[in-house]
Amino acid sequence: MDTYDAYQAITDVTEDQRWAFGAGFDDPLSGIDTTIPDGVSADDLAAYCEMLGDDALLMSHRLQQWVGHAPELEEEAALANIALDLLGQARFLLARAGTVDGSGRTEDDYAFLRGPAQFRHVRLVEIVDNDFGLAMARLLVFSTWRLAVLDRLRVSRDPVLAAIADKGVKEMTYHRDYAAQWVIRLGDGTEFSHQRVQAGLDHVAPFVGELFTDSDVETRLAAAGVGVRPSETHAEFDAALDAVLSAATLGCPAWSASGGATRTAGHRDTLTRLLAELQSVARAHPGATW
């Protein structure tokens, strides 16, 4: 006899936080020592948090645009999970930037009130994708790179960055595995899918050099034991990509060389349009609480 009481079920309090990752009401940085480590410039640390935060924020935005358009329902769930993880990372990092640079700005101030010239992301995350092959190619590159960086960031002398990196490594491992599996399926699937994902990789190739170009901020922070020089992750990235592309029967594109300008935002079309979508509602109601 089925005696399960459905009414009871819906009123049972549950500690299950999973329905909204990072959407709790608590201060995300509570319990963590937020003082800036010795010998580290506050401006540098804030800039670095913005860099890592903006990468995650905009990459999440691109994934959010797939909601309702994914190739299968199970992929809707998977892409939303990845987008939520990255959004969570962005929130921690941007909140940290505000506590460090003395401005007291909130995560929302950074996300919604900065103009295009003030963002500090790599151009890879701006790429518009309405093709699943391109989306997976970009996600593979992004996740592999970011995983390698966060992995090294776990031993940062800044306890907040170390904590964020620690959580982030588990997430990025999952994201990279997801993207890698898809690149392999598409590369070694049908002829058509092979061409599409190869084209996606070729489209992404010009943006890869920037990922491994050390900015002045990263160089200084790495010397202080707080940050990571992305150039140090290049070999690991190459090895990982080679393994995936070989399993996928795909040709390795000519990744662009590093050493040029890095993280120079500006009034580019793609960025202006992206920020218009991201910021328009918030900006239409200055000072409002949501």
């Binding site: 769930a77 999970n81 588990k170």
Partner: protein
């Protein structure tokens, strides 16, 4: 009839939570292969909670027996867990839900 060239088979999902004693059947999902099924199970049925043990089994590989259930379509001991979709045509719309 469905176009089978792009359709993914059905997998049944079993989870054992962190404090659970054994795996419990929670539902099913579609995946192209078992590795994908595991990923999907984690995304859909656990929303990526860690520490959850997941089993996935292709539905067609499950053999079921339940003598009280009397549908003559099924052999009384040892048959599919439920009808697979070659059997039933979809009825059309009703005027309202």
């Amino acid at each position: 009839m469905s176009d089978t060239s792009e359709d993914w088979p059905l997998y049944e999902v079993f989870l054992r939570g962190k404090r659970g004693l054994n795996h419990v059947h929670v539902g099913s999902l579609h995946a192209a292969d078992a590795h994908m099924a595991l990923h999907h199970a984690r995304d859909v049925y656990t929303r990526r909670n860690e520490g959850v043990s997941i089993w996935v089994v292709a539905s067609k590989d499950i053999t079921a027996s339940s003598p009280d259930e009397k549908d003559p379509f099924f052999a009384p001991s040892g048959d599919k867990v439920y009808r697979h979709p070659t059997f039933y045509a979809i009825p059309d719309n009703v005027p309202h839900m």
